[in-house]
Structure formats: C-alpha cells, structure tokens
C-alpha cells in the first residue's frame, strides 16, 4: 500500500471528503493529510524546508501566487499527461507546475438590514457606508492578497480605490472569517469576502446577501501541485489528475465551490459560470509586487 502525504488549506470537512473520494477511486493509495490555513501550512512547510526534509507529496493551497513563489524556488515538479483542454489556460501554469482546481471569488457581502445594497466595488467607498465596510487584510489572508493584487492591477480601480476606501474609514478586518462575522453580526453593513461563506450561511438563515460586483471578482483558485521532493510522485500525479477530472470537479461543486472546469455545473446559490466575470490577474507580476504592495497597503490603511 502506498502512502501519499497531502498538505491542504481546505476546510476540514472538505478535505476529508476530497481524500475519501480519492481513496475510493484509488483504493491502493492511503492518504495522510494535514489541514491548516495557508499561512500555517506554509510556515510548517518552510520549517520542513529549513530542516531539510519536507514531508508532503502534494500541496493543495489557496492561491497561485504562493505556488508561483515555490515554483521559482524550484520546490515544485511539473506534472505531465493531464487532460487540460477544457481549462482556461490562465488557470494553470504554462510549465505545468500547478493547476487551479476551483474558483473562490471575492465579492461583496452585505447585511440584509443594510439600507443600501452595493452592486459595485465603488459602492463600498460611498459616504452612506462610511465606517460600515469590512474587508480582510492582505497581511493576514492569502485570498485578500490576491484580491488586492487583482484590484490594483485593474486600471479602473487601482490604488485610488484603496485610498477612497481608507478615506471611508474602512479598517481591514483580519481574515475572511472575521469580515464575514462582522457583517453577519451587524457590526458592519458590507464587506469584501470570499463567496462560499455568505452563500452557504445565507442558505442556513444568516442575514446576509452576496453579490458579484459589476467590475468583476478576484479569485483564488486553490491550485494543486506536486513537490519536487515528493516521495511518492506516482501517487501524487494520480491525486492531481483526480482533482482535475470531472469527478473531482463535481466534488468541488458539491462542496459548494465554483469548479474550475467550465463544463461542471455551479452549485446552488451561485450564478452560472458564464455570468461570473473574473478580473484579469497576472500571478508572476503579483509575486514580484506583492511585498511592496503590502507595504503600500500598510501606508494607506496605517497599520
């Protein structure tokens, strides 16, 4: 029996489902998995690098910027022979080092008690919402970093937009969970947040609404990659292939995420895949500018 070690930032239940489904498809492979936030998983992995003995074969984390960084350090190994035809080339690395598995978009959430219902990113900078907007900090959340990069790469928004938000008394609220809680709890009326939280919780009765703003959304794509130090590259490849297969993509949809595969139906509560407009995003550029953008962010929001 082979053992495959997976480090993932998927929520627990999702990770368990994914692993169970994979093991059902490959009964000869036993999967050991570790789940934690992307930051912690990366800290753990970094420590393992430093100690010279990284454990995982496969990495399944939130964003491609991190993957890009690892790729440049030579920590990843390309996986060949996958069926990638259906996928948007923007969703995987040209050298086949990492592959997006789903789309977790960052849009706008608002409390149903709110007087105004924002439909555009710019609405968050309106005076009616002064002091009432929450957003995750890129210093805490990987998704928020991508979001910042996407918005600042966008000509229509750019840093001016962040300046306007800062002027509107927006204070970055930790991670997505914190932002969502602030809005759902009524402390804030609106905020930028990843899609699945409000969509799921709304279904259970939480007083929130999620909108895909007209400028488009940023997305983290939960890329999967095999490490160059993988002990079990064969199984790793099978795992990657499984996630990108239709079966794997259906699983993501069942879990309540937008699948990366355009041919797989979006889960309930999401608009159809075609109606979701993604903002353009360049991971390589993001990797280069991320550090200094964070500094800029700090300057603007005065941490």
């Amino acid at each position: 029996e082979e053992t495959l070690v997976v480090y993932t930032s998927q929520p627990n239940a999702d990770a368990q489902q994914t692993v169970d489904a994979f093991m059902a498809a490959h009964p000869d492979i036993k999967v050991d998995w570790v789940r934690d936030g992307t930051t912690k998983i990366m800290a753990k992995l970094r420590a393992e690098f430093a100690a010279g003995n990284p454990k995982p074969d496969v990495l399944l984390i939130a964003d491609i910027v991190t993957m890009e960084g690892l790729k440049r350090e030579g920590r990843l190994a390309p996986v060949e022979g996958l069926e990638l035809e259906a996928y948007d080339p923007a969703l995987y690395d040209a050298e086949h080092n990492y592959f997006s598995t789903k789309l977790i978009t960052t849009g706008i959430v608002y409390n149903t008690n709110s007087d105004i219902k924002p439909t555009s990113w710019k609405d968050l900078a309106k005076p009616e919402l002064k002091g009432l907007v929450a957003m995750p900090s890129p210093l805490t959340s990987g998704a928020a970093t991508i979001h910042m990069e996407a918005l600042t790469q966008n000509d229509a928004l750019g840093w001016d937009y962040y300046e306007a938000l800062a002027a509107n008394d927006v204070k970055p609220q930790g991670g997505n969970g914190g932002t969502f809680k602030a809005v759902a709890g009524g402390e804030k009326m609106a905020g930028a947040v990843v899609d699945f939280l409000p969509i799921r919780e709304k279904a259970k009765g939480s007083p929130v609404e999620f909108v895909f703003p007209e400028e488009g959304v940023s997305a983290v794509t939960e890329p999967v990659a095999m490490l160059s130090t993988a002990n079990n590259p064969e199984a790793a490849k099978k795992f990657v292939a499984f996630l990108l297969s239709e079966e794997g993509q259906k699983l993501a949809a069942d879990q309540g995420y937008l699948p990366a595969h355009p041919g797989v139906d979006a889960p309930a509560g999401f608009p159809s895949r075609d109606n979701i407009k993604l903002m353009a995003f360049d991971a390589g550029e993001a990797l280069e500018t991320a550090e200094q953008d964070k500094m800029k962010f700090i300057e603007i929001f005065g941490e």
Binding site: P11, T39, N53, G131, L139, G177, G178, G185, G186, E303
Partner: protein, 577 residues
C-alpha cells in the same frame, strides 16, 4: 566511620537526578530555541545579520513590541488584582460556597482564548442576543467595544487570573497569622497591613504570579488576534503571524528574529523577578504557626454577591453567548425558540469522527504532560531553591521561554529540531503525537514549575536541613519532605497544565497530522473554515467535558491528598474555639 569511601556513591542518585532533569529541560526547551535562534542569524548556512537589522529597523516591529508590553503589563496587573482578590477571600475568609466559586473562577482559563474572545465579541456586538433582549445593544454599524486595547487587556486579565489565583491562594494560606496579628496589635489598619505586611510576605508568589501572567499574556495569540487585528492593533505574536503570511523563504528567519525579541522580553521579565525577589526577604521563619483566618461578619453577603457578580461577568456572560451561537443554525441568526436546535452538537459529536479522536488525543497529551511536568517540578525546585544549584536555576529560567513565545514559533522550533530522526534512537517524532507531546512539555514547563518554585521560596530551608541532620538521603528528603510539602502545589500546577493542554491550539496547529488532531485544532479549523456555529458547539462540549472532569476529580477528593485539587476548599479552621 566510613565517610570518605561511600561519599561518591551516596551522592550519585542526587547528581544523577539533577542531570537527568537538567538534560530533559535542555532537550525539550533549550535545544529547539537555540536551533530557532540560529535560523535568525544564519541564512543558507552563512552568517548573515541583515534580517536582524531589517527587523530591528522596522517601525512595525517596535510598535508591536510596545503594544505587547502594554497589553501584557496591564493584562498582568489586572489578572493579579483579580486573582489576588479571589485568592484572598477564598483562602482566608469565611465566604460560603467556596467550591463552586473557585470552580467557576477557574473555568475561563480552561476555555481557549480565541473562544473567550469570540464569546465576548458576541456579548457586546450589535447583534448580541443578550444586549438585544435587554434593549441596550449598540446600533448596527457601531464598533464592538471589545475591539480595543482595553478589551485585549480585560480579556488577557480574565483569561489568566486563575493562574494568579492558584499561586496566591497557596501563598495566602502559608502566612502565619501571628505576623498579621502583630501588625494589628500595633494598631495598623487593613490597608496598611495589606500593603506593608501581606504584599511583601507574598513576594515570591506575587512575583511568580506576575511573571507567569505577564509571560502568558506576552505569548497569547488568540485574544489580540481576535480583538486587535480588526483595529489594526498588532502585538508581537500577531505580527509574527502576519509575517508568516508573507510566504517567502525568509519567513523562518523573520519569525525567529521576532521570537528572539519575545524571548528577550521574557528573559528581562525573569531577571526583573529575580531582582525583586532578591530585594525583598520574605522567607517565613520556621516556627510553625496556625494559618490566618478572617471572618467577614456583616460584610459577608455583600462580598459574596460581588464575587458572584464577577463570576457572571467573566464566565456566565461569555459562556452563554457561546452556547447561544452553538444553538443557532448559522452565524448571525438570532436565537429564538424556532431557530434553536441541537443540530450543531449532533453534527460535531456524531457525524464528525475527528471529534472523538481529538478528545482522546488531547486528553492523553494533557494527562501525560501534566503528570510528567508535575513530577519534574518538585526535584527541580528542590535543587534550585533549597540546594541553591546554579544549573537548576538556569534550567528553570530557560523553561519560561517556551511559554512566552507564541505557539506557532515554538512549533516551528520543534519542527526544525525533531523533523530529522533523533540521533542514536533513529526514530522520528515528526508527524506523530510524540512531537506534540514534546512541544507541550516545553511549553507548559513554566506553568508547572513556577508555582512549585514559589512554594519552595516561602518555606524555611531549615526544614530540609533538619532532614539532612537525621540522616535522610536525597530521595528520602525529596519524597518525604519536599514532595508532601510541595505536592499540593505541584498537583495544582499539573492540573493547570492538564486543563490548558486540553484546549491548546497554537502549538499543535502546526504539529498535528491526520489522526493526531487535537481539540484546539478542531475548534480552530472549524471556525477558520467558516463553520463558527460548529466550532462554538465543539467549544461548548469541551467546556462541558472539562467541567465533568473537574466534577469527577472532585468526587475522588476523598482519596486524593489534601490540597491537590486546586479548587477544593480546605478552609482553615479558626483555632481556639
């Protein structure tokens, strides 16, 4: 008389014990920290001071340092005041219902800090079920008042007050009443007695309590993360966390540098403690005396009411908020008779197999850590205080560092050291429960030995001398004099370790692996994944389990030695009546 020949053999057990303990401490606490520190100054094997310079030049580093100092300091002051007040009333006066009172007072410490923070947020936010029912909820959109420096200080204080309480209660009990009576006879009023007699007499324990609560607050992540980050108020642990999010290859060295900064602050605190202790002689002289006892008379109902009000504030309110959240189907839904259900409990208890496993794992880890550390504390204190052994002293000081560091940092240090198979033994702890255990041993060492050392410091060393005179060997003195005298304190420390380890999150977060998940990790992961209601349900279950354990231990009280259970009431009897 055959002195000379046997001397070496007679001393062997003593020397052996000392070295075993010192080496154990060095292995679990010293080595990882050293390894971590080396990461700060070595980049790819080459000595490189530039990351240190960068970190020290960064303004955010200094701002976070100042924030850390202020929250830890005031958190400590608050914890010592609150814990000291309870300790005084419970140890020396005739307030009734001491058992439930202490029980309830200890509970906040058993609740993971992030859960505490969460529940306080829920209590005071605009959507607070409680405040809404009372009609005094702040309007939607107003900032939650607990998101503030004061909020952080308040919660750090409440979270750690039980630590101060336990240390000080034992100390209050040891004050011979005649020292207080002498002051009363001189006409001194209560205030003066408190300030000029009791406080100095309590010095070792007060300093230990202050040190422990300060270091706890310094290393606390959950509270400043939940309450500070939304307000962009960073302390060192949260700054470290933020650095972790930079993902780049420099994380480890950045983190190591900040960790060293925390370590330096912790060390400064230790040195300051030593300085204060050396200035104030508070060793009681050994003529035994009956303990002090203060009847409250007419004040008793008022005092009792005030105590219970505090309990309501620090325990019932946040806990009920937590329960309320656990009962609703989704976060933000109001708790009404129609929305309330036990669905979340069923989900975590019966549908998620990890829950049961996590309880077993955490329980086992906590138990082993508590017992092991309780056992180490007694000889370590013996060597350090009664034998005035320098090496033991260094080991004891070293043991405080891992407690001051943020858990993430400690676990990184653990990975750095224990990833590779152990030399000689050839087994690898990484990816097993073993590494979590080692990390727990390192982390909670301070919690276990501080109370014991403070206990030793209040006792007259003549008690040991008298035993040496009658020819008692090292083990005789350790087991028959030191252990019974310090046993209750050590056990109390061990129970603290157990309770804290059961809920521990930040250390195990990086160290767990599939099948080895701990309770704290489970609670955090649920919350982090957006399942706040499930995580609340699990937190409620955890509190209930702890409650049950405490009750179970209470049932065994009859067969346990006196004073072992920290919450039990061994009320001093008024003598001569």
């Amino acid at each position: 008389m055959p002195f000379g020949t046997s001397a070496v053999w007679r001393k062997a057990p003593e020397a052996l014990t000392l070295w075993v303990i010192v080496l154990a401490v060095a292995l679990v606490a010293g080595w990882p920290l050293l390894r971590l520190a080396s990461e700060a100054v070595f980049t790819d094997g080459a000595f490189d001071i530039s990351p240190v310079q960068r970190a020290l030049e960064s303004r955010s580093t200094w701002r976070a340092t100042v924030h850390s100092l202020e929250t830890s300091f005031f958190g400590m002051v608050f914890a010592v005041l609150l814990g000291g007040l309870f300790a005084f009333l419970v140890a020396l006066t005739d307030v009734r219902l001491k058992l439930p009172l202490v029980f309830c007072f200890m509970l906040p410490m058993m609740i993971p800090p992030q859960v505490t923070a969460l529940s306080w947020i829920q209590v005071f936010g605009p959507s607070s079920a409680l405040l809404n029912t009372l009609g005094i909820a702040p309007p939607p959109g107003s900032t939650n008042p607990v998101y503030s420096v004061q909020g952080i200080i308040l919660l750090l204080g409440i979270q750690h007050a039980p630590l101060a309480f336990l240390l000080l209660r034992a100390a209050f009990r040891q004050i011979p009443r005649e020292l207080i009576e002498a002051a009363r006879m001189a006409g001194a009023g209560a205030g003066r007695i408190a300030a000029q007699i009791i406080v100095p007499l309590l010095t070792p324990s007060l300093v230990a309590a202050a040190g422990l609560t300060f270091v706890s607050a310094l290393g606390n992540f959950g509270i400043p993360a939940m309450l500070g980050i939304p307000e962009s108020y960073y302390v060192l642990p949260t700054l470290i966390y933020r650095r972790l999010t930079s993902f780049g290859p420099s994380i480890i060295s950045d983190v190591a540098i900040l960790a060293i900064l925390v370590g330096v602050i912790g060390l400064a605190a230790v040195l300051l403690q030593n300085y204060i202790k050396s200035r104030i002689e508070s060793r009681l002289m050994s003529k035994p005396g009956a303990p002090l006892f203060i009847p409250l008379k007419g004040l008793r109902p008022i005092v009792e009411a005030a105590l219970w009000l505090i309990i309501v504030m620090i325990l019932v309110l946040p806990l009920s908020a937590l329960v309320a959240t656990a009962l609703v189907p989704a976060y933000g839904v109001g708790l009404t008779s129609t929305t309330a259900s036990l669905e979340n409990f069923q989900e975590v208890l019966f549908r998620q197999s990890a829950t049961l496993r996590a309880f077993m794992n955490s329980g086992g880890l906590a138990l082993v850590s508590a017992v092991a550390l309780g056992l180490i504390a007694i000889p370590l204190g013996f060597f350090m205080v009664w034998q005035k052994n320098r090496i033991a002293r260094i080991a004891a000081h070293l043991s405080e560092m891992p407690y001051a560091l943020p858990g993430v940092v400690l676990s990184i240090a653990m990975i750095l050291v224990f990833l590779q198979p152990l030399p000689v033994l050839g087994i690898s702890l990484y990816g097993t429960m073993g590494i979590i255990l080692v990390a727990y041993l390192a982390r909670f060492l301070a919690l276990a030995i501080k109370p014991v050392i403070a206990g030793y410091e209040q006792l007259d060393p003549k008690l040991d001398e008298a035993a040496r005179i009658v020819g008692a060997s090292f083990f005789d003195r350790l087991f028959r004099i030191a252990a019974p005298l310090l046993g209750p304190v050590a056990a109390a420390g061990g129970i603290l370790v157990f309770m804290t380890a059961l809920n521990e999150l930040t250390v195990s977060a990086l160290l767990w692996s599939a099948g080895n998940e701990t309770l704290g990790v489970l609670v955090f992961n649920l919350d982090d994944g957006g399942y706040t209601v499930l995580s609340s349900a699990l937190a409620v279950i955890t509190v209930l389990v702890i409650f049950a354990i405490m009750l179970g231990a209470q049932a065994l009280n009859g067969i346990l030695p006196r004073g072992v259970l920290p919450w039990t009431d061994d009320q001093p009897t008024p003598h001569g009546r």
